[in-house]
């Protein structure tokens, strides 16, 4: 009974270390998706931090056969949804402000491609579920099944979010190229 623990902890430490290394590899992707979801650098990193904490806590639930990135993305997306829910009202205003504040770094980076700024701006006006789907598909190399699992919906739902979102985006960014660019807040 008592002889095992020492050995076990050694194994446990290696396992944990391995897991943490794998986790570290995914951080850039998590940050990117979180950034695209929230639009803000700090908000995104807060989300990623929550996600990593949770992943470390729930490590036992991850089966090494599965794709760690999908597992993490699913977790991240849920945390994102929770946050939205928790701060539903206040979030709305925050997001508007955030959209404005973060427009600066984002537009800086995108400055070379003015159209990109349009699409990014239009994205913020989409329903968040549609935005999450489009951005996930555009940024990550995932198939629809994985993406649907990450977002916690069925493949059919994912498809319809994508197509509705893309159409809306098309209309919005077309509008915005036509209209003066300063119509961000309403």
């Amino acid at each position: 009974m008592v002889r095992q623990p020492l050995q076990e902890t050694a194994i446990a430490i290696t396992a944990r270390k391995e897991f943490e290394d794998l986790l570290a590899e995914e951080i850039p992707h998590l940050r990117r998706y979180a950034r695209a979801l929230t639009g803000g650098v700090d908000t995104a990193d807060d989300l990623v931090q929550d996600c990593l904490e949770r992943a470390l806590r729930k490590r036992a639930l991850w089966r090494p056969g599965g794709r760690l990135r999908s597992w993490l993305f699913r977790m991240l997306y849920r945390l994102y949804l929770n946050r939205r829910k928790r701060a539903a009202v206040e979030q709305r205003t925050l997001e508007h402000e955030r959209g404005l504040l973060d427009a600066s770094p984002a537009t800086d980076r995108v400055a070379a491609h003015i159209e990109a700024a349009d699409v990014v701006q239009a994205l913020t006006q989409l329903p968040h579920e549609q935005r999450a789907a489009i951005v996930l598909i555009a940024l990550e190399d995932v198939n629809y099944r994985e993406a649907a699992w990450i977002l916690g919906v069925r493949v059919g739902t994912l498809r319809s979010r994508l197509s509705r979102g893309r159409e809306a985006l098309r209309r919005l960014s077309a509008d915005e190229t036509a209209a003066p660019p300063l119509r961000s807040v309403k």
């Binding site: 943490e20 695209a36 806590r57 198939n143």
Partner: protein
């Protein structure tokens, strides 16, 4: 224009000539690898349907924009606070405060059980109601009137006092006035329950007492 996937998303087999909106998306997202029949059909379709061709271009453009806006986030330096090592270390101190209330609850429950058993043991030792009730209430009345209705619990709380130590002081604080009122019984009350806090004494005394 386009057949809007009446046959359900992606449910067509390659035999059907119908081009769905899903096909257009798949094509725009690069999900139709070259050489596949469906891809050739979509390309054919687009040649003769400029509106859909524009749509596909728009979708491709959306993805390009998204990638150019956030693509290089993956190359940014990861802030320290996101490193797993760091997170694990930060987690530890937060784990304890979380445990503390649990420990308090556990200690409190233990104290209650102990006190309860002690109370019963006490009852079993002497006459059922006559012993603890009138005596303690009398003493409580002498010391402090407002607590009278709760005196039964308070007596048991006093029994748990040595066990609970620092943690339970709020509870024993309520019981405080009783502790000094030793009389002949109180010392037994305080010491007795500690060793026998668990089941053993209860079945032994309870049947006789109650």
């Amino acid at each position: 224009m386009i057949g809007r996937g009446l046959d359900g998303p992606g449910s067509h087999d390659d035999g059907s000539d119908r081009i769905t909106h899903d096909d257009l998306m798949a094509y725009a997202e690069g999900r139709l690898p070259p050489g596949i029949v469906r891809r050739a059909r979509v390309e054919n379709w687009l040649r003769t349907h400029p509106a859909d061709a524009a749509r596909v271009r728009a979708y491709m453009h959306q993805d390009q924009c998204i990638r150019s806006a956030w693509g290089d986030v993956t190359n940014e330096t990861i802030p320290d606070r996101l490193l797993p090592d760091r997170i694990r270390q930060q987690r530890r101190p937060t784990a304890r405060p979380w445990l503390r209330p649990t420990a308090m609850v556990a200690a409190f429950a233990l104290a209650m059980v102990t006190g309860f058993i002690a109370g019963r043991a006490d009852l079993g030792g002497a006459t059922p109601q006559a012993d603890s009730d009138p005596r303690t209430s009398g003493e409580v009345a002498a010391q402090q009137q407002p607590i009278t209705p709760a005196h039964g619990d308070i007596a048991t709380g006093a029994g748990a006092a040595p066990l609970a130590d620092g943690v339970l002081h709020p509870t024993t604080g309520a019981a405080g006035p009783l502790i000094p009122t030793e009389s002949t019984h109180a010392p037994e009350l305080r010491i007795a329950p500690v060793p026998e806090m668990m089941p053993p004494p209860a079945p032994a005394t309870a049947p006789g007492g109650v």
